[in-house]
C-alpha cells in the first residue's frame, strides 16, 4: 500500500489544469505606474472626465499608502512599477454579438469549459467574460433587458448608465480604503456592472468569468452590484490564469449594495494559478470585497471556494446598516504545496436586530499555511444583534499550518456573539472504514473533505456546487491524514 508521503508527493506534483496560454494579439499599456498611465487607461476607455478624476483621486491616495504589516505571511516583494496596467485583446471594437468575438478567444473559453455561446450556455446562467480585465462577452443580455436588469461590463455602464455608476461607485469601498483598493481605483480596467430594479427577482444566475492571460500584467477589475428594493440576484464569479513563472497581481474590488428587503447572493469559485510545488509563480489574489445592507431587512451572502492563487488575501465583508439586515459568509479555503491563504470576513453590525452567520472551513496540506481571520463588530446601536461563527480547520500532513484569528468587538450589551473553532486532522479510522468498503484512499479523502465542506458547498447554485466539488476532489485527491 502506498504510504501517506507518496500520496502527498502526488498531490504536490499534480498539474494545474488551466495553465495554458492563449496566443492572441494584445494591446498593452507601457510598463509602469504614474499619472500618465492612468490618463492612458482612461483615454483608451473613452471615459468621461468625472471618471478620470475619480481615478486620479485613487492614485493620490495610493501614493500616500504603505503595505500593511499585520497579515500572517511574509509580504512578497511587489514592484508595482514593473507591471503593465492595461491589456486588452486587440480586435476589440464595440462587440455587437458573440459572432464578433475573436475565435481564438472563444476557443479558450471552450477549453475552460465556460460556454459563452448562448446556445451552449448553461441553462439559466448569464455570463460576462472578462479576459485580462476587459469584458469580452455578455450573454443573455436581451432577456435580462426585458426585465429592466442591467448586466454589462463596467466600461459600458460608465457610458450608458453614468448616473447609477456615479451614485454608487466607491460608496462601499472608497478609493482610499486600503492600498490595493486605491490602486484598483486608479487603474481598474473593466469588470461587471449589475443593477436589479425594484421588485425584480433575477430569473437566472449572473456570472462573470475572469481570466488572466497576458504576461507582466495585473488584473484590476471592478464589480458593482446594486439590488434595489425588494429585488433578488445571485451572482457567481470564476477565475483561472495561465502558468507563468513570475507572480501576477490580482487586485480587484467588488461593491455590493442591497436596498430595502433586497437580497444579493455572491459566490466565488477561485482557481487562479497557485504556482508550482516549490512556490514559484502563481497569482497574488489581493481583493477587496464588501457589501452594504443599506435597507432594512436586506441580506447579503458571500460564498467562496478558494483553491487557487499563490497567496489569497481577502475578507469579503458585510456592513449591516439597515435594521433586521442579515449577513452571511460561507468559505472553503484549500491550500497545498506552498500556498498561503489569509482570508475570512468582516461583519459590521450597525442596525438593530441584525444577524450574521459565518461558516469557515480551512483545509491545509503540503507546506501551506491557511489562516482564518475575521472581525465581528457590534456597534452601540445594534440592539439584539446576533452572530454565530464556526471555524474549522483540517490538517493533512504535518508540514502545514492552520490558524484562526478572530476579532470580536461588542459594544452593545443586548448582542449575542458566539464563536467556535476547532482544529483536527482526517481520522485514520475514517479512511480505513471507507477502504474496507472498497473505496481507495484517494477517493476516501475526497469524500471526507467534501463532507467536511458540505455546509458551504450547499450554499452554491447547483451547477457550480458540482464544479466546486470536482475542484475540491482534484485539488486534494489522495491526501492522507
Amino acid at each position: 500500500m502506498r504510504n501517506s508521503n507518496e500520496i502527498i508527493d502526488d498531490i504536490a506534483n499534480r498539474e494545474y489544469e488551466f495553465g495554458f496560454t492563449t496566443d492572441i494579439e494584445m494591446e498593452m499599456a507601457p510598463v509602469g505606474l504614474n499619472e500618465e498611465t492612468i490618463r492612458f487607461i482612461s483615454a483608451k476607455k473613452e471615459e468621461p472626465q468625472w471618471m478620470l478624476e475619480w481615478r486620479l483621486k485613487g492614485f493620490q491616495a495610493f501614493k500616500k499608502m504603505q503595505f500593511p504589516k499585520w497579515q500572517h505571511f511574509e509580504m512578497p516583494e511587489l514592484d508595482l512599477q514593473k507591471l503593465s496596467y492595461y491589456a486588452a485583446p486587440k480586435k476589440k471594437k464595440q462587440l455587437n454579438s458573440l459572432d464578433e468575438v475573436d475565435p481564438e478567444l472563444l476557443a479558450t473559453f471552450e477549453k475552460l469549459g465556460i460556454p459563452i455561446n448562448e446556445q451552449k450556455a448553461l441553462a439559466g446562467v448569464a455570463v460576462d467574460v472578462v479576459f485580462d480585465s476587459v469584458s469580452v462577452a455578455t450573454t443573455f443580455k436581451e432577456k435580462l433587458h426585458e426585465l429592466g436588469i442591467i448586466f454589462c461590463s463596467f466600461g459600458e455602464a460608465v457610458r450608458t448608465h453614468p448616473d447609477l455608476v456615479k451614485k454608487y461607485l466607491g460608496t462601499v469601498v472608497p478609493h482610499s480604503d486600503n492600498i490595493f483598493a486605491a490602486l484598483n481605483a486608479a487603474v481598474f480596467s473593466d469588470g461587471s456592472f449589475v443593477y436589479i430594479p425594484k421588485g425584480v427577482r433575477c430569473p437566472m444566475e449572473l456570472s462573470t468569468y475572469f481570466r488572466i492571460n497576458a504576461e507582466n500584467t495585473g488584473q484590476f477589475e471592478r464589480t458593482l452590484i446594486i439590488a434595489d428594493d425588494d429585488s433578488y440576484v445571485s451572482y457567481l464569479e470564476g477565475c483561472t490564469a495561465p502558468k507563468r513563472d513570475e507572480n501576477q497581481l490580482h487586485a480587484a474590488v467588488v461593491e455590493l449594495v442591497a436596498m430595502e428587503r433586497a437580497e444579493i447572493k455572491y459566490s466565488t469559485v477561485q482557481n487562479w494559478y497557485p504556482g508550482d510545488k516549490d512556490g514559484n509563480g502563481g497569482i497574488y489574489n489581493f481583493v477587496t470585497k464588501r457589501g452594504i445592507c443599506k435597507g432594512n431587512s436586506s441580506k447579503i451572502s458571500w460564498t467562496q471556494v478558494e483553491t487557487g492563487s499563490a497567496i489569497t488575501w481577502k475578507y469579503p465583508s458585510v456592513i449591516l446598516q439597515g435594521d433586521d439586515a442579515e449577513g452571511e459568509f460561507y468559505s472553503v479555503a484549500v491550500t497545498r504545496n506552498k500556498q498561503i491563504a489569509d482570508t475570512g470576513t468582516k461583519i459590521y453590525h450597525l442596525g438593530r436586530n441584525t444577524r450574521s452567520r459565518i461558516i469557515s472551513k480551512g483545509i491545509s496540506a503540503g507546506h501551506s499555511d491557511n489562516t482564518y481571520r475575521g472581525l465581528v463588530q457590534v456597534g452601540p446601536r445594534a440592539a439584539n444583534a446576533r452572530n454565530f461563527t464556526q471555524c474549522d480547520s483540517l490538517l493533512i500532513g504535518d508540514r502545514c499550518g492552520a490558524h484562526t484569528f478572530p476579532y470580536i468587538e461588542s459594544r452593545n450589551s443586548t448582542a449575542t456573539v458566539e464563536h467556535e473553532a476547532t482544529t483536527s486532522k482526517i481520522g485514520e479510522d475514517q479512511i480505513f472504514y471507507l477502504n474496507q468498503r472498497g473505496i481507495e484512499t484517494e477517493k476516501a479523502v475526497a469524500l471526507i473533505v467534501n463532507g467536511y465542506a458540505q455546509e458551504v458547498l450547499n450554499q452554491l447554485p447547483m451547477e457550480f456546487a458540482v464544479e466546486a466539488r470536482k475542484l475540491l476532489s482534484i485539488t486534494l485527491e489522495g491526501s492522507v491524514g
Partner: protein
C-alpha cells in the same frame, strides 16, 4: 474460501495473534468466541488490513489469492466485508452517496459499469426491506448522530448492499438490546446463502441463539484453543472461560 495458516501478528511490538489456523468454506457460519483481550477483534483487523497491525508469520489465502498482499480496499473488492465493532461517523457524507461510491468502486474493480441511479435506488429499497433498515437514515450523514443500534443495523444494511463473499461481524451484538439484536440477526440470516460465508465474532452466546453457527472456535491468548459446534457455545455460556484457560495452562505445563 478462506484459509488461515499459522498467523502471527503484533501491534505496537506486542504479540497479539500467536499462530491462528482456520479454514472457512462456502456457505459456512463460523463463530469466534473468547474472553476479553484474547485477540478476537485483532483477527478481524488483520484480515481487513488495518495498518497498525503487523503480520510477523503465516499466511492467509482468500479465494486462491494472498490476502495479506492486498490493500484494505482491494480486500473489500475481492469480497471481504467487515462489520465494524465501532462504525465511524463521517460528517457531511450522506449514507446514500457513500454506498453508491463503494458499490461502484467494487463494480469497477470487476470491470463492471457503474450502476445507474435508478437501478441503485431500486436495489437500496429492496435491501432496506430485507434487513428492515429505516429509510430515513439513508440521507443522513454516515453514522452521524445514529444510535448504537442504528449504527449496527447500518453495517448489516451495507453488508446486504455490497454482497460480499465473506462477511466478518465484529461484536455486532455488543451494546444491542434484545429487539435490535433480533432485527440484526434476522437480517444476517436472510443474507446467508450457499456461496457466502460468515465469521461472527462475539463475546456472548446470546447472539448464537439467533444466528446458528456451524462451527464455534474459542480464541484464547492469540490462538484457537478449542473448536466445536454450537453446543460448545452453550457450554461456555454456562461455565465461563475459566475451565478452558485452566485446560490450556495444564497442556502447556505438561
Amino acid at each position: 474460501m478462506l484459509t488461515i495458516k499459522n498467523l502471527h501478528a503484533e501491534v505496537d511490538g506486542k504479540q497479539i495473534l500467536k499462530g491462528i489456523n482456520l479454514e472457512i468454506k462456502k456457505g459456512e457460519m463460523h463463530a469466534i468466541m473468547g474472553p476479553n483481550g484474547s485477540g478476537k477483534s485483532s483477527l478481524s483487523s488483520v484480515l481487513a488490513g488495518r495498518e497498525n497491525y503487523t503480520v510477523t508469520q503465516g499466511e492467509v489465502i482468500f479465494e486462491g489469492k494472498n490476502l495479506l498482499d492486498m490493500s484494505p480496499e482491494d480486500r473489500a473488492r475481492e469480497g471481504l466485508f467487515l462489520a465494524f465493532q465501532y462504525p465511524v461517523e463521517i460528517p457531511g457524507v450522506s449514507n446514500l452517496h457513500f454506498l453508491k461510491t463503494a458499490l461502484n468502486e467494487i463494480r469497477a474493480y470487476h470491470s463492471l459499469p457503474a450502476m445507474e441511479s435508478k437501478e441503485f435506488l431500486k436495489l437500496t429499497k429492496e435491501k432496506q426491506q430485507l434487513v428492515d433498515f429505516n429509510a430515513n437514515l439513508m440521507n443522513r450523514s454516515l453514522n452521524e448522530g445514529f444510535s448504537g443500534g442504528e449504527k449496527k443495523r447500518n453495517e448489516v444494511f451495507q453488508l446486504a448492499m455490497l454482497d460480499p463473499k465473506l462477511a466478518i461481524l465484529d461484536e455486532t451484538d455488543s451494546g444491542l438490546d434484545i429487539d435490535a439484536l433480533r432485527i440484526v440477526a434476522a437480517g444476517v440470516n436472510k443474507l446467508r446463502s450457499a456461496d457466502k460465508a460468515f465469521m461472527v465474532i462475539t463475546h456472548y452466546q446470546r447472539l448464537l441463539e439467533y444466528i446458528v453457527p456451524d462451527f464455534v472456535h474459542v480464541l484464547y491468548n492469540g490462538q484457537i484453543v478449542k473448536t466445536g459446534t454450537k453446543e460448545l457455545a452453550l457450554e461456555l455460556e454456562e461455565k465461563g472461560y475459566d475451565w478452558l484457560k485452566e485446560e490450556v495452562h495444564q497442556k502447556e505445563s505438561v
